[in-house]
Every structure is written in structure tokens, then in C-alpha cells.
């Protein structure tokens, strides 16, 4: 498995914040962004999926449901990025198989220190995979 972190998002501050955090904390990991199933399928199997709940072209819940039925993604952890505290949406995301959910604040704060935490987590699961190989 590669050290790819897949961000499913239309864009925004999370992309920039995560790239910066990964470059500092997990340089062995790379971040790619996708917005459609076709783009997701064209990439290698990621080590971690970050799913923005606010997608403009497709329901993030449909994407999450699809991820959990696809053989190649079913064991990949999915962290949901919610734009604000929408508790019903977050409950639905967990019911569909999300591993964790984090609240994105409006720009410029965005993910804030959570980005560094995600980078640290990505690095740890990459290390864990190497140790098992």
C-alpha cells in the first residue's frame, strides 16, 4: 500500500493546511484530492481517506456508503470533516462507517491543530504498515 492520503473535497483551506502539516510531520505521506468516484478510482488505494461532508456535486453520504462497499477501500479508515456541528449528519456518517469526525471551522482557522493530528496519525499508520511488512 502507498502512503497516499486521499482528501475528497471541493477544495478550501483543508487542502493547504493538510499539505503543510504532512510536509512537517509525515513527509513520507502524500496528499491527493478528488471530487468524484472516477477520480477516486483512478488513484492508488490510500492509507487514509478524509471526506468533506460538504461536496457540491455528489452527496458525501453516498460516497461514504460506496467506499464501505468497495473491496479495496473497506478497511481504509475514513475521517469525516464536517463544516460545523451538524449532529444528525455526523450520526449518519458514523452509521455509514466513518471512523472519526472532526469539525472544520470557517476560514482562516479551518482544521487548525487537527491538521497536525491527522498528519501524525497518517505517519503512525504508515510506520505500523512498514513494521508489519
Amino acid at each position: 500500500m502507498t502512503n497516499l492520503i486521499l482528501l475528497i473535497s471541493d477544495g478550501g483551506s483543508a487542502d493547504r493546511q493538510l499539505r503543510l502539516a504532512l510536509s512537517k510531520t509525515a513527509p513520507e505521506c502524500s496528499l491527493e484530492r478528488a471530487t468524484t468516484r472516477a477520480e477516486i478510482l483512478s488513484m492508488q488505494t490510500p492509507r487514509l481517506i478524509l471526506l468533506d461532508l460538504m461536496l457540491s456535486n455528489e452527496s458525501a453520504f453516498d460516497i461514504l456508503r460506496w467506499i464501505r462497499t468497495e473491496e479495496r477501500y473497506k478497511d481504509v479508515p475514513v475521517f469525516v470533516l464536517a463544516p460545523q456541528v451538524l449532529n444528525m449528519d455526523v450520526k449518519d456518517a458514523y452509521a455509514l462507517g466513518a471512523n472519526s469526525c472532526f469539525i472544520q471551522k470557517p476560514a482562516p482557522e479551518g482544521l487548525g491543530p487537527i491538521a497536525r493530528g491527522i498528519a501524525a496519525y497518517a505517519s503512525l499508520i504508515a510506520l505500523s504498515e512498514r513494521a508489519c511488512a
Binding site: T25, P77, A82, V85, N87, V90, K91, Y94, N99, S100, C101, F102, I103, P113, I114, R116, G117, I118, A119, A120, Y121, S123, L124, I125, S128, E129, A131, C132
Partner: protein
């Protein structure tokens, strides 16, 4: 309920659900959750406080999300049986030793994890559940070492718990 409410003091009526813990101990998890749901239905109709007790080893493998989801969704608060500071200290020390410099950032991430339908719980229990769910490669090692520190804090080098 109707009979005892009039004699309850100013604090109101408090009930203790012993059966859920007995069912849990017998590994009748679904039955325990069903009983909790019935209690919660009763809570909607009558005003009282409900307390339940589950004998769950937080260091054990059974303390993980898929087992506890139902329990956490049917309660408002999880209260540890013993004061929890020592457990959090032991866990933090274990995480620092095993995860190194990344432990701090990971704690920030775990703290930010949003579970709106779960009972409010102490930090240490939240960390253990998160590690078991998301960091399976290192979780066992972290939790086992934390267990050692928790049970023998006075013998641990660098412990600040002497005299407590």
C-alpha cells in the same frame, strides 16, 4: 415509581439499574442494550435519574467501540468506578514512550473527535476507545504498558504519584 416518588427528597427520585450489568457480565449484550432502551422510554414518561453499573475492564479487548456503541448511545455520562487521573497519566506516559513526538498531536486529534450521540466520558476512556478503533497496530502495546503503569505507579520510574 408512583409509590415511591412522593417520599423522594428534594433531590428527586433516583433509580439504579442492576440488571443491565448482570446481563453484560453474562455477555448478553443485546439484551442489556434493549433493557437500557426500555429504561430510557420510561425516563421520557417519568422524571427520575437513572444510574447503571457495568463491570467492564477498560484495558480488556471487550472495551472497544463495536461492543460499547449501544451502551454509550443510551447514557448521558460515563463515570469511572475509581478516580481517573491515574489512568490518564498512565496512558499519556505510555503514548509518549511508544509514539514519541507524535503523541501530543494525536491527543489533540483524539480530543477533537466528535461523537454527538455518545455519553460524555473521561479523557482516558475516550483515548482507549479511539486507539482500539483507529490505531490497531499500536493500541495493544500502548494499553498494555498503560495498564502496567496504572497498577504499579509507585514502582514506575519518574512517577509523580508517590504519596497519593
Amino acid at each position: 415509581m408512583r409509590r415511591v416518588r412522593p417520599v423522594a427528597g428534594a433531590e428527586g427520585l433516583r433509580a439504579y439499574g442492576e440488571m443491565v450489568g448482570i446481563l453484560w457480565k453474562a455477555r448478553q449484550f443485546a439484551a442489556a442494550i434493549r433493557l437500557e432502551q426500555l429504561w430510557n422510554k420510561l425516563l421520557e414518561q417519568a422524571s427520575f435519574s437513572l444510574y447503571c453499573a457495568y463491570a467492564i475492564d477498560v484495558f480488556g479487548k471487550e472495551f472497544e467501540v463495536s461492543n460499547l456503541e449501544g451502551v454509550l448511545c443510551t447514557h448521558t455520562h460515563l463515570v469511572p468506578a475509581q478516580p481517573n487521573g491515574t489512568l490518564e497519566t498512565a496512558l499519556n506516559r505510555s503514548m509518549d514512550e511508544i509514539l514519541g513526538a507524535k503523541a501530543d498531536a494525536l491527543r489533540v486529534l483524539i480530543k477533537a473527535n466528535h461523537r454527538p450521540n455518545w455519553a460524555v466520558m473521561p479523557t482516558a476512556e475516550a483515548i482507549i476507545l479511539w486507539l482500539r478503533r483507529n490505531l490497531s497496530g499500536q493500541a495493544d502495546q500502548i494499553i498494555a504498558r498503560a495498564q502496567d503503569y496504572y497498577h504499579a505507579p509507585l514502582q514506575s520510574p519518574g512517577s509523580t504519584l508517590v504519596g497519593e
